[in-house]
């Protein structure tokens, strides 16, 4: 195996590849179903029964029960589908970012705002 086939991992980053897609199929299928309002209502009415319908693995079911985003990703969840689940709980991408980075939501939002400094730094470097 060459270095090219296995490039260095990217810190804090989980590529959604075929292995993840296979592992996460059931969880992502459930999240995809949330495109329909009736399915979102059914999930809220009886979360256990709804998860059972999609045959979530025990890891997936546990991560959903705990609202553990990193756990869902480890269990093969893809963020585009998970965002639909997050929406059911009224969470947006800053809330989800905060949950994954151990920051509070205001801290995560400030972290995003602070990155505007990158523009000033670039202007200083490139003139």
């Amino acid at each position: 195996m060459t270095a090219q086939q296995h490039p260095a991992p990217i810190e804090g980053t989980h590529l959604f590849d075929g292995i993840a897609a296979a592992k996460g199929f059931e969880l992502n299928a459930m999240c995809y179903s949330f495109n329909e309002a009736a399915n979102r209502a059914a999930f809220l009415a009886d979360e256990d029964a709804y998860c059972a319908r999609f045959n979530l693995t025990s890891d997936q079911r546990e991560a959903v029960a705990k609202r553990d985003v990193l756990g869902m990703i480890a269990a093969g969840g893809n963020i585009y589908y998970l965002a639909k689940l997050a929406g059911i709980f009224g969470l947006n991408v800053q809330d989800v970012g905060a949950l994954q980075t151990g920051k509070s939501v205001p801290e995560f939002k400030q972290f995003l705002l602070d990155q505007a400094q990158q523009i000033k730094q670039l202007e200083a470097t490139h003139g």
Partner: protein, 285 residues
């Protein structure tokens, strides 16, 4: 003879749609982003396109993991938005240009781009928001569309080199199109952002600048990075730059001029950018 009037690129963060809906364009958080569209409106009023070829990516509305095409081309009479899971108001529908879709498909497959063809295709915020930004006050879109959906969800993703080549093949196909339309090329998404993982919130202004600086004069420079390297540099969702690269290809191999750029950090979790390019020579298709 059809004419390619230029290319329009913009980020498509879902929250932009919310801001439009709530009329927050002048709100201090949103103003630096929305102010970048005055020039876009002026330019579109001047070049008056009637067809748009749009490179974007589906976010789990039309495609699921059961079938995930690398390159999908719409060949529908109409394209509708639908609930993406958040119960938001639906965006306006689009009219397709089916004859042009099939012309492009014929040429692409002949050129060994084995695309997936879609006579039905739901379109999500990635297509609707750039149109809402470009034509904010219309009841119906002034252009017919041919949408391309590039897989940016499930790896392996197509390389930047392949996306540029796809766009260039579209450009070649337009040269033999007999219509007299005025065609605008649109690329949507990006720039650097990452929604998932412990690195969520990652933004890289330096890589974004590299992309923006090179798209006009040297788009091949963007093909030097592997997908893995692009994820490292631009974030897991920053790979949506592939849509921009394909769109740049469709503008043709010749150099283009940047006539407008806006770059702002942050919009939601994203470094947001808007760009207009015009071909240096009039491009008769």
């Amino acid at each position: 003879m059809a004419e390619i009037v230029g290319a329009y690129f913009t980020s498509h963060v879902p929250a932009i749609g919310g801001a439009i809906h709530k009329g927050l364009q002048q709100d201090p958080y949103w103003k630096p982003f929305f102010d970048g569209f005055d020039k876009v409106h002026e330019w579109l009023a001047q070049v008056k396109p009637d067809v748009a070829i749009v490179f974007n990516n589906d976010h789990g509305l039309n495609f699921f993991l059961d079938k995930m095409p690398t390159f999908a081309v719409g060949a529908a009479h109409e394209y509708h938005n639908a609930d993406e899971g958040w119960g938001l108001p639906l965006y306006k529908s689009f009219q397709g240009h089916t004859e042009l879709s099939w012309h492009l498909i014929e040429h692409l497959v002949e050129s060994e781009f084995d695309v997936t063809t879609c006579q039905k295709m739901l379109v999500d915020h990635a297509l609707s928001i750039p149109f809402e930004l470009a034509w904010p006050d219309v009841d119906a879109w002034p252009v017919k569309i041919v949408p391309f959906a590039i897989n940016t969800v499930q790896h392996p993703l197509p390389s930047a080199k392949r996306c540029l080549a796809l766009g260039r093949a579209v450009h070649e196909a337009l040269k033999t199109w007999q219509g007299d339309e005025r065609i605008v090329i649109i690329g949507t998404g990006g720039l650097s952002h990452q929604l998932d993982g412990e690195r969520a919130g990652f933004i890289n202004a330096e890589y974004d600048k590299f992309c923006l600086d090179n798209l006009s004069k040297d788009p091949d420079a963007l093909t030097q990075h592997s997908i893995h390297e692009m994820v490292r540099l631009s974030g897991t969702q920053g790979v949506e730059i592939l849509n921009w690269i394909a769109a740049r290809g469709a503008l043709g191999e010749a150099a283009a001029s940047e006539i407008h750029r806006n770059y702002h950090i942050p919009i939601s979790n994203t470094a947001a950018a808007t760009l207009l390019l015009e071909p240096d020579a009039l491009v008769g298709a």
